[in-house]
């Protein structure tokens, strides 16, 4: 049975990484094989939190997708982006800095793919007005979306998976991930002039073209915007107040989505297209395959081998997880990677007495998986989306052009994270 579980998972992983078959199909087929061979029972798959579909993750994603689906109708992102471009008074560098910051903050609240889908069109508009190439702007934005998404529990799917496995809360992510994400963004902003040297020479006569844009016209429905703001604030309070309210983030997200649908009087056709059923089914299939590895003891064996390799030393394990996660996340999808690593890290943490040191392993997994997505053009879904948008707009970005910049940013941010983890969880904590 362990052999079936391993072979199925490895084959599925390769197919997902090479994208020969749609990943939803691969994940569901893998789950089907697991169930058909009796490696897992239907109870294991559908009712077990440890070995089955993690419904908290699925419903948190579903709730947020519905909320975002309604929110994007307001035009608020376009408003903010154009407002920022006008505040920059047409300076290409200042425009890039502001758009990078907006993308990072938005990514902390929305998923990265949605963020880049929202920011890319307005970026193309502003760059056309300025008479500069949009390529550096699109690359900078997607790099910042992967970093910004690391800041909160809901900002990136790997964080959602880690939170569910580890029991870490929304507030834990705010306290532990937001500082390093903010620091990384600050460093990336400082690096922008070097990374994209020569990309900021716009035509000063075209400043008026940017200033002529009317950002207020971007808001389609002020009433809806206010309702969205109120509901989002309530959802945020629900996430932050988890310890007091004892309501899981998935429930908060679903309640927020339901409330927003009711108050906004949105029809299903307005927001259901934003629900990525393929992504949710991909997660479901993935969890069944990972659960089979847990059930058959494969994960335990890997965790024991990892513990032996690190000598049971938490610091060594933390650094190893950080660097290996960053490398692997850069070349394969960080979602199946995190889903596979989470039960291994869970077992490793159970062998560490100090809870602060144990948590460090989770934070290193989150940082490595999130920041590592910047390493290559295929390291994160948002990267692939941006390359597609750039191609369609007539400003293609090659794999190597992206990877050159991405590798530098990943290297710098991981090298920044390593001393952060060491100092915060091993030096200052003791």
């Amino acid at each position: 049975m362990a052999v079936v579980a391993v072979v199925t998972f490895v084959a599925a992983y390769i197919l997902i990484a090479t994208e020969r078959i749609p990943k939803m199909v691969t994940a569901l087929a893998g789950a089907g094989i697991i169930l058909a061979f009796g490696v897992a029972s239907s109870h294991d798959a559908f009712y077990s939190h440890e070995t089955g579909i993690d419904w908290d993750v699925i419903f948190l994603l579903l709730g947020m997708m519905i909320i975002v689906g309604i929110l994007r109708q307001t035009g608020v992102f376009e408003y903010v982006a154009i407002w920022a471009a006008k505040r920059a008074k047409g300076s290409p560098f200042r425009v890039m800095v502001l758009l990078v910051l907006i993308t990072a903050v938005a990514s902390a609240m929305l998923d990265n793919v949605t963020t880049v889908l929202l920011i890319a069109p307005v970026t193309l508009l502003v760059c056309e007005r300025l008479g500069v190439s949009p390529v550096p702007f699109l690359i900078a934005e997607v790099l910042s979306s992967n970093i910004g998404g690391a800041a909160t529990l809901i900002g990136d799917p790997p964080n959602i998976i880690i939170a569910s496995r580890s029991g870490l809360t929304f507030n834990d992510f705010l306290l532990h991930m937001t500082p390093i994400a903010a620091l990384a963004i600050a460093v990336v902003v400082a690096m922008l002039p070097l990374l994209f040297r020569g990309s900021f020479e716009g035509d000063p006569d075209r400043v008026a073209d940017v200033m002529a844009l009317n950002e207020r016209e971007a808001i389609k429905d002020w009433r809806l915007l206010i309702i969205c703001g109120v509901v989002l604030a309530a959802v945020f309070i629900g996430f932050v107040g988890h310890a007091a309210l004892h309501i899981e983030p998935s429930v908060v997200a679903l309640l927020g989505a339901g409330l927003l649908v009711l108050l906004s009087r949105s029809k299903p056709g307005d927001f259901m297209p934003s629900v990525e059923w393929e992504t949710l089914l991909f997660f479901a299939g993935l969890f069944v395959m990972i659960g089979a590895l847990v059930n058959t003891g494969v994960i335990s064996q890997i965790a024991e081998a990892a513990a032996r390799a690190t000598g049971g030393d938490a610091l060594t394990a933390t650094m190893l997880i950080l660097f290996v996660s960053a490398l692997l996340s850069g070349v394969v999808d960080n979602i199946p990677y995190t889903a596979a690593m989470s039960p291994i890290v869970l077992q490793l943490t159970q062998g560490i007495a100090d809870p602060v040191h144990a948590d460090a392993l989770w934070w290193s997994l989150a940082i490595g998986a999130d920041f590592g997505g910047n390493l290559t053009a295929i390291g994160a879904s948002a990267n692939v989306v941006i390359l597609g948008i750039a191609m369609r707009s007539g400003s293609p970005i090659s794999f190597w052009e992206f990877t050159r910049k991405g590798a530098i940013v990943t290297g710098v941010t991981i090298l920044l994270a390593a001393p952060y983890l060491w100092l915060r969880y091993f030096v200052l904590a003791s």
Binding site: V122, L124, L125, A212, L213, E215, A218, K220
Partner: protein, 173 residues
């Protein structure tokens, strides 16, 4: 049972009557009209002006040998003029205050007709000279094309526009 509305019943029977009047009667050859042609390397700006000045729904685009290559609907030219980022995010159309006409000439300058056509080549909306009005209508509906080229012995002999088809179909019998 869905109750039928009088206006719907009238339109349906008018179309049916129109079609019935031509059953076994007029064929594509008799419905065809002349149309200006452009080839793949014609100026895009000139093609757009042709569509605008003559209020044409589409143009037939020919290959170098004169045989039809594709149909270029006026809507496709309009689509070319709308920036991709506005098509991805229609709300951006509202924030831009200049007239599209200010930029249309710039966008079409130095472009050829082949640049206006969609990247994936679509099936040519062509009918045979002896096709009936229903066959022509079915083709237009399937391809969502406002114009069909009429072919006889491999040569283009004219075109049928959607409005021409409706004119014939809705004529009182």
């Amino acid at each position: 049972m869905i109750p039928s509305r009088p206006s719907m019943r009238m339109r349906r029977s008018a179309f049916d009557a129109g079609c019935d009047a031509y059953a076994g009667g007029v064929h594509a050859e008799q419905m065809a009209e002349e149309t200006p042609l452009v080839d793949l390397d014609s100026s895009a700006l000139a093609a757009a002006r042709l569509l605008a000045e003559r209020r044409l729904p589409a143009l037939v685009v020919t290959k170098a040998d004169g045989s039809p290559h594709s149909i270029l609907p006026a809507s496709q030219v309009v689509r070319f003029l709308v920036p991709g980022y506005v098509q991805d995010d229609p709300s951006l159309a509202r924030v831009m205050n200049e007239s599209m006409a200010d930029r249309a000439g710039e966008k079409l300058a130095n472009k050829r007709v082949r640049d206006l056509l969609p990247h994936e080549r679509r099936e040519l909306a062509a009918v045979n000279y002896d096709d009936t009005i229903i066959e022509v209508a079915a083709l237009m509906a399937r391809l969502r094309c406002p114009l069909a080229a009429v072919m006889k012995d491999g040569k283009l002999i004219g075109v049928i526009t959607a409005s021409r088809l409706l004119e014939l179909a809705l004529q009182p019998s």
